[in-house]
Amino acid sequence: MSTPQETLATRFDERGFFRRLSWFDWSWAAAFLVGTVYASVHFAQWMDGYEQAILYLSWVMLVAVGWMWKPARAFSIVVALLTLFAVSRYPDLQAAQNDFFLNYLLSSQSAIMWICALFPAAMVVYFAGLIANSPFMGKLGSAFTWAASGAGFIGLLVRWWESYLISPDVGRIPVTNLYEVFVLFAMTTGLIYLYYEYRYRTRALGGFVGIIITASIGFLLWYHFDRQAHEIDPLIPALQSWWMKIHVPTNFVAYGAFAISAMIGVAYLVQARFSDAWKRRGLPSAEVMDDLMYKNVALGFAFFTVATILGAFWAADAWGGYWSWDPKETWSLITWLNYAAWLHLRFTKGWRGTPMAWWAVIGLFIVTFTFLGVNIFLSGLHSYGEL
């Protein structure tokens, strides 16, 4: 991926945002629009009006992201082509075993196993690059992270297809149980990280973010082998709702951003401890890390707010009220208030640095409890993903 040096543009460009888009930007967006229209017609039977709206909305989001973050275009193309290829080789579930590509690369199980290999590898390589001060290793780390996130995307998309192959009434978007959302978590965290890597032009933080992704991969593997959680089960009625399609992914953008902020917090604390050694290795300055930490908390807070509100709308449809003080809801509120306090301390009291880094790390524990702990330890209306 190239890293445009926009702030050092030698020649300012007087054209507006849209004028500056290249023919590639436009044809890329057009190609995906064609795909979207095709999907909306071809799968019309399975979608209601809301789902159609969500489909087109996803296209808008994709285009917005791709136009602002150029590497996302190539990424989306590769993911789309590989997914289409996988689906074309998938007339029935049996093909997952018989077809070479599916069996080793593209069936959701294989793709997810690739994630499980690539993300930890990325962490190791990133750290090796940081310690050995080797830009090549850093690039390799990025490549692994891109590939792993792509595998995540493909794994989930193909899984979506597989669920319909099991039986049309089992078919559903694969963000409905803990197993699937762990893939989603690893993938969104990877992508958000890559965005900031691109914006801030530093690969030094990849290893730190890799820690949390690798931890989630560890859980995923345990869950897979110990609990056979990778099986696709049909949905209980409470989860059969189009709200699912926007509520869950929004939440995971937030979780990913919070996780990154915490891991940058860790990097910050490590550097504060052994300042010179790490700075020489290329960790960004304290100021930049502090800023990045804030950016991620802000992103997380914004998306978490939206996700919680979407959850409230959904609850109003499913449980008879937008707020029931169900443990998951309550812990969302706790998480939200915690980050609201964090933001206020930073903005109105001007707190910076070490205490905020610690707090970001503690914040992740609260997030983890909201995400996992509630399902494990508390009972409530949120009926998915019991361990």
Partner: protein
């Protein structure tokens, strides 16, 4: 690099000397410290309600905590924390604090949105960390036009001001960030107000003032007094009601403290049909109810199907599918006595959760309470590891048998025999309290899939007279086989056979074998004739059992003299194994379900939330506000243009409080742009004197 905004806080500091009590109070309530403290305190307090399950029956809490803690927790309202006075008080503090903060900062913020700071001087601009200077030959007008273009292109609004021989272009962009602040904080107040409208505070208040009495008894609606009723009105509520198919309801029940009150509805709702469908895996796939709403103001009743995630909204009332249960299915049963003299089976009929039946069995009188009935019971097919195949075991029902002393056992019986290892059994689970797991009795089904043969066999073995006859026949036969002709020994031989049968029925086959082994050992293992005798007893026992089996065949209308085959062998063995379990079964009767009329009930939740739109408005404000706050950055630029003897001096300075790092980049881009424009306009540029911060 502290970036405390120049807001009311600093302004206040100057006036500290002459403050009244009121202003001190307002100052405290609107202070940032209090705000942050409140955010954290609410977060911590909220944990309580997630750790301690809320709104459970008081009885459960009492058992869990004991009377001492139960009382303390009740005092603290911990069973309904989120409606506890102290919790609401903290929330109220947050609302007040946010309102004050908002009231104090809003005027400033609005003013700031249109304040361009066009009174800056050259010297103060040079003090900004982001500034750069140029010298050019271009006339001021041209520089002005050029700078204006650059600023406008980057989204800045511009105010122009002459400062003697100099000219200041004061630019500003992203002032809607300030709107973001206002919206975000306003939304908190709006959401809390909406939430308050929808809470059950009014109900609590009426209960507290004695206007409303909590009903704790489980009695029909018609018998609930007016003091426990809330008439239909505009207030918010959220309650549930179970309606059987064909039934109707005009009220819902609102849980309150350790009981409930009745909320009347301005319409009646009738349940025509309730449906459950299942996936192949046995998981429920769909719950839906066909309901009919009738109300005086409706010309036509409303008919609609509601399902989970698809409520019906009528006139501000939202009706949700929330649960299901049995609505009084009629069960047709056959009672098989397991003890006593009269073993004739007889028919029973009753409705689930509606009728209690009296049974007289073996001199004992029992009350039968039918508690549950379900037609679909999925179970994972056993045997194949990792297989996820499931099968439907068919209808089952549950009941309690209550003895005269009040103790009860619970039973769970399946209607159809269940196949296990290719044999078919009637399963009847039993337990003595809901805390236990069911232990299942396996009664072998006969060739007609009926328990009849087993019951006849049991009867033949447990009725004294018939067992005696069977044992006599068996003894005579056995003696014939051994060539023993002394008929007078028959009763003695038969008695020893019966004794073994009795042991078998009481303690099982293992015990019999143990007993025989012991007897051989007692004989010292030397006396052959003793051993023969023991074997002989065993043979008599077995023949007695087979005689009884033939009696049972006769009793069920089968030919007792027919050749017995492998299936008889299998049934015989299963039956013998089941016999000792009958004792542990703990009931003198087995109930077989023969037929049923299924009638389901749908659990509906009905809610009215007049504050919902207020809350949703708050949500909209919140989301809008937050994105403005985070992603619109309030930036200021100043371009100072001064004519002097040798040309024109240009000074560009900028500032932003929220995102200094990001802004430094944007500033540099704008400065570069002006640089290029200046170069383009006049080929040679003199003295590009760059002074940059960061």
């Amino acid at each position: 690099m502290s970036t405390v905004p120049a807001n009311a806080e600093s302004i206040r500091a100057g006036r500290r000397s002459r403050r009244s009590t009121a202003s001190i109070l307002v100052g405290f309530l609107g202070s940032m410290n209090l705000a942050i403290t409140l955010l954290v305190v609410i977060a911590i307090a909220s944990v309580i309600g997630t750790v301690l399950q809320q709104n459970q029956p008081f009885q459960d809490y009492l058992i869990k905590f004991g009377p001492f803690w139960f009382n303390i927790f009740e005092r603290l309202s911990l069973y309904d924390v989120y409606a506890a006075p102290w919790y609401l008080l903290i929330l109220a503090f947050l609302v007040v604090s946010t309102s004050i903060c908002l009231a104090r900062n809003t005027p400033n913020m609005l003013k700031e949105m249109n304040r361009f700071r066009e009174h800056q001087q050259e010297r103060s601009l040079r003090a900004f960390s982001n500034h750069r200077e140029w010298q050019t030959d271009l006339p001021t007008e041209e520089v002005e036009a050029l700078a204006t273009r650059a600023l406008k292109r980057n989204g800045y609004r511009i105010r122009r001001k002459e400062h003697g021989d100099a000219l200041l272009l004061a630019g500003m962009t992203g002032s809607s960030n300030r709107i973001g602040y206002i919206l975000t904080h306003l939304s908190i107040v709006v959401i809390c107000v909406g939430g308050l409208i929808d809470g059950n505070l009014m109900l609590k208040f009426r209960e507290w003032s004695g206007d409303l009495v909590v009903e704790t008894r489980d009695i029909p609606v018609s018998r609930i007094g007016a003091e426990s009723r809330v008439s239909a009105g505009a207030a918010a509520f959220r309650g549930t009601v179970n309606i059987p198919e064909g039934g109707r309801a005009g009220v819902v029940f609102l849980p309150l403290r350790d009981g409930y009150v009745v909320q009347e509805l301005p319409f009646t709702i009738e349940l025509e049909e309730f449906r459950v469908e299942h996936h192949d895996t046995g998981e429920p796939r769909l719950f839906e109810s066909d309901v009919v709403i009738t109300a005086p103001e409706l010309e036509e009743p409303i008919r609609q199907t509601i399902a989970v995630n698809h409520p019906l909204i009528y006139n501000g009332y939202a009706i949700y599918q929330s649960g299901f249960g049995d609505g009084g299915s009629r069960l047709y049963m056959r009672a098989w006595p397991l003890a006593g003299d009269d073993r004739a089976a007889y028919e029973l009929e009753g409705r689930v959760l509606r009728d209690d039946l009296e049974l007289e069995v073996a001199g004992q009188s029992l009350r039968l309470e039918l508690t549950e009935f379900e037609t679909f019971n999925a179970r994972r097919v056993p045997g194949v590891p990792g297989s996820r195949e499931v099968e439907n075991l068919g209808p089952r029902f549950e009941y309690r048998l209550r003895a005269a002393d009040g103790t009860a056992r619970e039973f769970r019986n399946y209607m159809r025999p269940v196949t296990i290892d290719d044999r078919r059994y009637f399963l009847s689970g039993v337990r003595s309290s809901p805390a236990e797991e069911f232990r299942f009795l396996h009664l072998p089904a006969d060739a007609d899939d009926s328990p009849e043969l087993f019951m006849a066999f049991l009867d033949a073995l447990t009725s004294e007279e018939r067992l005696r006859e069977a044992s006599m026949r068996a003894a005579a036969d056995a003696m014939d086989d051994f060539g023993l002709t002394d008929r007078s020994l028959i009763p003695q031989v038969a008695a020893s056979g019966r004794e073994l049968v009795q042991r078998l029925l009481d303690e099982g086959f293992g015990s019999v074998m143990e007993h025989l082994r012991q007897r051989i050992a007692e004989a010292g293992g030397v006396d052959d004739s003793q051993e023969t005798l023991v074997m002989f007893s065993r043979m008599v026992m077995e023949r007695t059992l087979w005689e009884a089996y033939r009696d049972a065949l006769a009793a069920t209308g089968d030919d007792p003299q027919r050749e017995l085959g492998g299936s008889d062998q299998v049934f015989f063995q299963d039956a013998i194994s089941a016999m000792p379990a009958i004792k542990a079964y703990g009931a003198p009767v087995f109930l077989q379900l023969r037929d049923y009329d299924h009638r389901q009930a749908s659990g509906l939740q009905i809610a009215r939330a007049p504050g919902q739109n207020v809350v949703y408005l708050g949500f909209a404000l919140l989301v809008g506000g937050i994105f403005l706050l985070f992603y619109v950055s309030h930036r200021r630029m100043w371009c100072w243009i001064r004519r002097h003897d040798t040309g024109t001096m240009v000074l560009l300075a900028g500032t932003n409080q929220r995102d200094p790092l990001g802004f430094a980049g944007q500033y540099r881009a704008l400065a570069d742009e002006i640089d290029h424009r200046l170069q383009d306009a006049s080929a040679p540029v003199r003295g590009n004197n760059e002074v940059e911060g960061l």
